[in-house]
């Protein structure tokens, strides 16, 4: 049977050459193609924050709570790709991302992506997850939209009826995403201890003392933290962390110069990531995660020196593959297209 099916698939692909049969089927059923999804519904969570309910196309494999996906959407006709954490539980019927307006792409997703839009969607990846089956007493430290991976974990515990002994400290300014749902979870599950600190009215900030006061046994818990780089730099505990965008090292000795990418020549200040430099000059390099994970934006260094902005390390070996999204030029640089 399997052989017959694969024979049929082979003949079908020959019959559609140079396309594939799915290219024709997708005229009426767009989701037969892999790496895409349709926006099925939208839900406003707070001002500038919207949840998109997605229906993934063929080939989607479920995620683990806490993982993220790369989503591509057309902005001014150009496909822009960004990474978003999945907020829904893998056990839930719907795949959801909750997006806060932060830049051009998130604004397009929140404000200009109506129900029915087809967007591109990668498989889920990421290690900010809770090991399956092992007993765990987590401490969640989250801020702002950093709540999303933890929301996926909490929803999963609730759906499975396996809510462990959880301590959760969440910082938000004015509008708390998932406010009602978080409080309902805390009310329904006595083992889920939630503290929400609204930093617009509450002067308390994340310190060891505050943590000791709110979660006296914090040192014996497994800590997970997700939020802006500022929060992660101040963590009073060892934690597994997740951050939106690469964590960048400070550049003390930026060397401006000329960057040659293919035929284009761009002026660099020595600290702007090459991907942003190219996009600001109107080029459209291929890219994916924009945080140094997926290697979609790799190009070859022909001459000169670049700096890996995550570590500050210099790369000057011609022929090395470098990542445009996390490297800046250091002086004059030539890159292959």
């Amino acid at each position: 049977m399997k052989n017959v099916a694969s024979m049929v698939a082979r003949v079908a692909s020959l019959i559609a050459t140079p396309l594939v049969p799915a290219d024709y089927v997708s005229l009426v059923r767009p989701l037969v193609l892999a790496n895409r999804a349709r926006v099925e519904a939208v839900r406003d969570e707070a001002p500038g924050v919207r949840t998109l309910v997605l229906r993934p196309g063929r080939g989607w494999r479920t995620h683990r709570a806490g993982q993220h996906v790369r989503i591509g959407v057309a902005v001014d006709g150009r496909i822009a790709t960004r990474t978003f954490t999945i907020a829904s539980s893998p056990d839930s019927r719907d795949l959801e991302i909750t997006v806060k307006v932060q830049g051009r792409v998130s604004r397009a997703l929140v404000e200009a992506t109506p129900v029915g839009t087809i967007i591109s969607l990668s498989l889920a990846s990421g290690e900010f997850t809770i090991p399956e089956g092992a007993p765990i007493r987590p401490l969640f430290i989250t801020a702002g939209s950093g709540i999303t991976p933890v929301m996926s974990m909490l929803r999963t515990f609730a759906l499975r009826g396996t809510m462990p002994d959880v301590a959760h400290v969440h910082f938000a300014r004015e509008h708390v995403i998932f406010n009602a749902e978080l409080r309902a979870l805390a009310a329904a599950h006595p083992t889920y201890g939630l503290t929400i600190i609204d930093t617009s009215v509450d002067p308390r900030r994340l310190t060891a003392a505050l943590l000791a006061e709110l979660v006296p046994d914090f040192a014996t818990r497994t800590a997970y933290a997700c939020g802006p780089q500022r929060l992660l730099e101040q963590l009073p505990v060892q934690a597994r962390t997740e951050h939106f965008g690469a964590v960048l090292a400070p550049v003390a000795d930026a060397a401006p110069g000329l960057v040659q990418i293919g035929a284009a020549k761009l002026r660099s200040d020595g600290r702007t990531p090459l991907l942003r430099l190219a996009e600001e000059a109107g080029l459209a390099p291929r890219h994916g995660c924009r945080m140094g994970i997926c290697h979609t934006c790799d190009v070859t260094l022909k001459s000169g020196c670049v700096r890996d902005l995550r570590t500050g390390a210099r790369i000057d070996e011609p022929g090395t593959k470098i990542q445009l999204c996390v490297c800046a030029a250091s002086g004059d640089v030539a890159l292959s297209d």
Partner: protein, 361 residues
């Protein structure tokens, strides 16, 4: 024209291009995506209508229905090769950064492999437009289309093989990257072009199996009508693309250049050569789309990677600019451009009596 004039002309063209690039956006993306959707619907719909005609074989309805299906498939193949394939392979849509619609990954419904086309056409023809000895599109190594090409006895036969080329045009396109002249002069050996031939064989094999084996087989006992319908659809595409493409650089008034004359060419002079060597065809919006906007050959040669839907918008500006700077802008009806091209091919089959030199503007 003074050197300053030519450079000023070039700068004005640069501004036209910059303005278009700056304004590219969602509506352009919708245009190419809609073109692809329409094309695929016509292709699939055409094939289904051809199949629907088969049970009607014994009725008077058979001929009109199969003709309709064949027409739809032929139009789809024309759109696919011209407005979609040719233009995507030029990188006109790469600015969208859409992996589905990108010159680096696109393959077209033609026996010519896309990678070979991108070299022979985008690199050789568009860089060296109408430079004799450099641009193989000047007669495609087999036709004499300007009296600057020395006459040889074989050209006596060109009125005949010109017609053969028209019917088999995609095969001419497939052989395009193989330097027949260099092979004849023994500068290249068959071994040198073997990788290219292998690429063509692989691509052509798939194309032939699709149209002349698998689709006809699906029709079972009606194998032959389906095969013939596909043959006619491919033939329509061949004749149409031949006609449009031959109107690009061969009509009366199009100029050719020598390698000497382009030495040290500036950007402005390059632009001027593209205008003088190219010819536009007048027509309505549907005609322009069906020609892949190669009816705006001049604009296409000035800006080969500009999305084709923008050529009609900039054409009046380019024409006005050419008038201002006194550069001949060759525009004519389809009948005029094709008619003078065919007359040239017939006339140049015979040796030229008196050598007439084209006067440069």
């Amino acid at each position: 024209m003074t050197t300053q004039d030519i450079e000023a002309f070039g700068r004005e063209l640069d501004i036209i291009q910059r303005d278009v690039v700056a304004s590219l956006g969602d509506s352009d993306r919708h245009y190419i995506r809609r073109a692809i959707t329409v094309q695929r619907s016509l292709a699939l719909g055409g094939r289904l209508v051809i199949f629907a005609s088969l049970p009607l074989l014994a009725t008077p309805l058979f001929v009109p229905v199969i003709a309709l299906g064949t027409l739809s498939l032929g139009v789809a193949k024309i759109l696919e090769n011209m407005e979609i394939g040719h233009n995507i392979l030029h990188g006109q849509w790469d600015w969208m950064a859409d992996p589905q619609i990108h010159s680096s990954t696109w393959e077209w419904d033609n026996v010519c492999p896309a990678d070979q086309w991108k070299h022979s056409h985008n690199v050789m023809h568009h860089t060296w437009t109408n430079v004799i000895g450099k641009d193989r599109d000047v007669g495609y190594d087999i036709l004499r289309v300007t009296d600057k090409q020395p006459w040889k006895p074989v050209y006596l036969l060109q009125p005949v093989y010109n017609v053969v080329l028209a019917f088999l045009f995609q095969w001419g396109v497939a052989m395009h990257d193989i330097d027949l002249g260099a092979l004849r002069r023994k500068e290249l050996s068959v071994d040198d072009v073997r990788p290219l031939l292998r690429g063509i064989a692989k691509k052509a094999g798939k194309q032939l199996v699709k149209d002349y084996v698998l689709w006809p087989l699906l029709a079972g006992p009606f194998f032959l009508p389906v095969l013939l319908a596909n043959l006619v659809a491919n033939g329509m595409r061949n004749l149409w693309s031949y006609a449009i493409i031959f109107c690009g650089h061969f009509p009366d008034g199009a100029q050719t250049f020598s390698t000497m004359s382009i030495e040290g060419e500036t950007r402005g002079e390059w632009y001027r050569r593209q205008v003088l060597g190219s010819c536009n065809i007048s027509g309505g919006p549907l005609f322009h789309v069906m020609s892949g906007n190669l009816s705006h050959q001049i604009e296409h040669h000035l800006f080969p990677d500009m999305p084709s839907n923008r050529y009609p918008q900039i054409a009046p500006k380019v024409e006005a600019l050419c008038a201002t700077y006194g550069i001949h802008y060759n525009k004519g009806s389809f009948a005029r451009q094709l008619g003078t091209t065919m007359r040239t091919i017939l006339r140049l089959a015979l040796p030229s009596r008196a050598r007439k030199l084209a006067v440069a503007a």
